[in-house]
């Protein structure tokens, strides 16, 4: 077990990070048989702090055992000047939507090779310069979800 910290140190008002994070969670629901729920107490956490590298805006770690996902955690870098207006980078909700994509085992497009390198029309796009927006799933993302979890 481990402690859960609130995201107030990100410099975003509490009511805002609560609603933005919820919107990021909802972005993944309703496209497949997969649903991402919020629970009061759960080993999977979202927290604020300094990630293993300071250049990371957010870091997600997932632990997979044979057959299932044992753990998923996301840390948002609290030394970053986050924006929530949807136009300014780094956009908190945009990054949150992307990080939840790692929870369902999707990969960054920059780590893909060949023709898919830095494929833009997905929330897993992480090549630079990243712009704000991209807060809802693209058709590609929905297809990935369905290919794993079914319709």
């Amino acid at each position: 077990m481990y402690s859960i910290t609130i995201l107030d140190t990100l410099g975003i008002p509490r009511s805002t990070w609560v609603s933005e994070l919820d919107a990021a969670r909802q972005a993944w629901n309703g496209h497949s048989r997969f649903t991402l729920y919020e629970a009061a107490s759960n080993p999977h956490t979202v927290y604020a702090g300094i990630p293993p590298s300071r250049t990371a805006l957010a870091v997600t770690t997932t632990v997979c055992l044979p057959g299932y996902l044992q753990d998923a955690d996301t840390v948002f870098n609290n030394t970053v000047a986050w924006a929530t207006d949807g136009r300014t980078w780094p956009d908190f909700r945009r990054v949150a939507v992307h990080e939840f994509g790692h929870w369902v085992r999707l990969k960054d497009t920059s780590t893909l090779s060949g023709n898919n390198y830095c494929y833009q029309y997905t929330v897993m796009y992480d090549c630079f310069p990243v712009v704000a927006g991209y807060r809802t799933l693209f058709e590609e993302d929905k297809q990935w979800l369905r290919s794993i979890y079914g319709r």
Partner: protein, 191 residues
Amino acid sequence: MARGIGFGWLIVVTAVSGIAAYMLIAQPTLIRSNTSSMLELLPLDKLVEHSKIIVVGEIVEQKPSVKDMVENTDVQIAYTEYILKVERYLLNNSEYEEGDTLIFKNLGGKVGIEEFIVEDSPEFKVGDRVLLLLTDEWDDFLKGSWNVVGWRQGAYTIKDGIAYNQFYKERSMPEDELVKTIEEIIKKKSK
């Protein structure tokens, strides 16, 4: 500071097909930890500014990986030590005594049946010729040891005279051009 109010997030995988997909991803006896991140892109002069040592050389040895906890979390991560045979130092802004070899640490590695994949950490193999921007601080996890600045951003793999940036392919350029650019940044900073 308020404590105890938290966000727990629960993944509920309702589809049997989901579980089947994970079985395909994971090897039967392997525990796989995957660390993915979204990096802040730093311009080259900022990366140079955060560097204490900039070096060109060849990876000659890879040590067995070691795992450790990330402070204040339940997250485990592994690192791997590499030995670099140094061709030249472009910058040494530290107490470090320049030698023929330099040891640095890099996140990621395999420890027993556990594999720690750190997607934005640079990748090396023995025989690679590289240009590295290194620091012994800044990256809190590897503090006290030489490590690459800005994860993949601070590592170039050199092949046939071209230095390929491991993060941002648009930053790849001929080796001599990169060396010249870095030397000019260093000269400007020291003025």
